[in-house]
Symmetry: C2
Subunit: 372 residues, 2 copies
């Protein structure tokens, strides 16, 4: 079945079918500018993370706002971005397996493509795929700077891979991927700063080691929306990879936001309709786990004081209404701020973009489901 | 972008691209038979819940195994099922709003369509939509038998709605929807039995009240995979709505499964590839929150003793490997049992159906994303 858009341009919010994924265009555009302003003059490049939005239109707007390109987590995401006209894509992740590597290499005929490695055998496979396709891929050695996910240890292990990457044809050693995921969600600014300072020490040591062995280490890339100004301030990163800043979500909103980080606004919402009013203290919305991801907590209600979302099931959100709060009517439409924007976006096929109370545009989420 | 299937018939499991949603067809078919055998002779009908699988091929197989039809949670799901040839669909949920009601009524030109109500105003809207389309809809009054979600209170409130539903044209009062969701996941058999006994008392009292007022209450429908034999045994239900029984998931596997409930097998898996081996005690898979839902807990590993999934991020699953466990190699493919099957299915576009180690079929998940 071809997905049916939940709205068309010119409708009011109340006329949008529910559930729907909503962008407040004014807030979204302010977020784009806030990031650009925050890094202006630092010499650090922005490579926005497209895993957050999965939408070529948004990627093009990020590039128009100064990003040098995007990063993706998957080959299929990168395919959607290149198809959508993005000329510079880094897969900030390891890609394993002959089929995926062949697709990755094929993409490099149409755009500048980078990819991460943390394994010598994978590096050989990558070189072979690039040679077969007759292309050159940028290779970043991923180092584990505290996330305990992928990546080799900083120091000698990274140097060994960098040496391998730097020798021979079809691959170009481009630098280091150093991303500290868990640090993004530490609540206090000082905690995040301290983690990034530790990561920066590992980055500097590894870069020095590589450069001391005569290999250029052109770019260190990493950082996310919760920490990027600490990476910028450290001087150890050349490029940042924020994704969520365009939208914000309920999880990021629980962080402390203070200088040097700019405060981003909620620009992404799930619009839901009240489908049941079983009692004075309860309402049920028509948006559940299949419309809003709960991996980072429940969605929160937007500008509805005294009403809380207390439970999601597949297709329902149960709301508790405090005494004295304005109760929502059956059929009324309510905006939710998703707990975690990235997996929530992946549940939808379109963004409904609002401005001044009216639908201005529908943007297809081309890389929805692009997990391969 | 049109979704690309992760496999084609005849491939081995190792050749399937990752991540992919896998059905073990033998286990799936045994689950179908187990349910049919369990209720055989009881006089209780099976109306399988299609929100679990969202796939017309599976719905047709459920009907072939004895189900009278399916239930859905959303109009868009029902549209996919009717389009796929299912002649009897109950939306086990309230449908609110003129657009959705018009689509619902239009469906009743092609199939028998039922829907739930818990509000008098919604009942009027429903009747108007049915009249406009020139159809008759089956209406079930939903009663809250302990789930504290939608539904009116058992007793007088249900009678009042039944009276309204039973008078006038274009609607037919068909009975009661009585589903106790939270009871499905109480771990002990006795706890689930006790909850369903309480629910059964509410059902009996409400049905008696309605029938005493001269209104036929033809069908009481409800029940899920975790409790259905208690509903069957109570004699208070005419129809059961199990969904997850075809697949099982890690959450349901934590239930006690003993008589009278048959033990279902895991038949649904997420196939993931090892994309990083950063240390002897850690591996990282290429399937994360966008491939396997975590609302009911992390996925578990299938037949890989000593290896546990400890963390998911958007596109990664981090595995901890115990000392002495057989470590997976880079590129190796691993089967995960999803924490919760329904929202996991909704992340994929195809089932890759395996038998005897080979891909036998690809089934499209037509109602993936059908949330409206």
């Amino acid at each position: 079945m071809k997905p049916v858009p939940p709205a068309s341009p010119g409708l009011t919010l109340a006329e949008v079918d529910t559930p729907a994924l909503i962008i407040d265009l004014d807030a979204f555009e302010r977020n784009l500018r806030r990031l650009a302003d925050a890094v202006a003059g630092s010499g650090v490049r922005v490579r926005a993370h497209a895993k957050t939005h999965k939408c070529a239109e948004i990627a093009r707007r990020q590039v128009a706002a100064g990003a040098i390109g995007v990063c993706c987590q998957k080959v299929a995401e990168a395919e959607a971005m290149v198809e959508g006209g993005i000329a510079d894509v880094l897969i900030s992740n390891e890609i394993v397996g002959a089929k995926k590597l062949a697709r990755l290499a094929a993409l490099a005929r149409h755009a500048r493509i980078g990819v991460c490695v943390d394994d010598a055998r994978n590096l050989l496979d990558l070189r072979e795929a690039a040679a077969r396709a007759g292309v050159t891929l940028d290779v970043y050695v991923e180092i584990d700077v505290g996330a305990r996910r992928c990546g080799v240890a900083p120091g000698e292990a990274a140097l060994a891979l960098a040496r391998e990457a730097a020798r021979g044809a079809n691959l170009r050693f481009a630098g280091l991927q150093a991303y500290h995921g868990p640090a993004q969600h530490l609540r206090g600014n000082d905690e995040r700063r301290a983690e990034i300072e530790r990561a920066a020490a590992a980055v500097r040591q590894t870069r020095s080691l590589i450069e001391a062995s005569g290999i250029a280490c052109e770019t260190v890339t990493g950082a996310g929306s919760g920490s990027f100004m600490f990476e910028v301030g450290s001087g150890a990163w050349d490029e940042i990879q924020p994704g969520s800043y365009i939208f914000m979500d309920a999880d990021y909103a629980r962080n402390e936001w203070s200088a040097p980080l700019p405060r981003f606004e909620h620009a992404l919402f799930v619009l839901a309709g009240v489908m049941s009013r079983p009692g004075p203290d309860r309402a049920v919305l028509d948006a559940g786990l299949k419309a809003s991801s709960v991996d980072a907590g429940l969605p929160t209600l937007w500008q509805r004081p005294g009403i809380a979302c207390v439970r999601l099931s597949d297709e329902h959100a149960v709301l508790e209404i405090s005494r004295g709060a304005a109760p929502p009517a059956l059929g009324e439409k309510i905006l939710l701020v998703p707990g975690h924007c990235d997996p929530t976006v992946n549940l939808h096929d379109y963004y409904v973009c609002m401005r001044g109370g009216l639908v201005e545009a529908l943007w297809p989420i081309e890389a929805r489901g692009a997990i391969s």
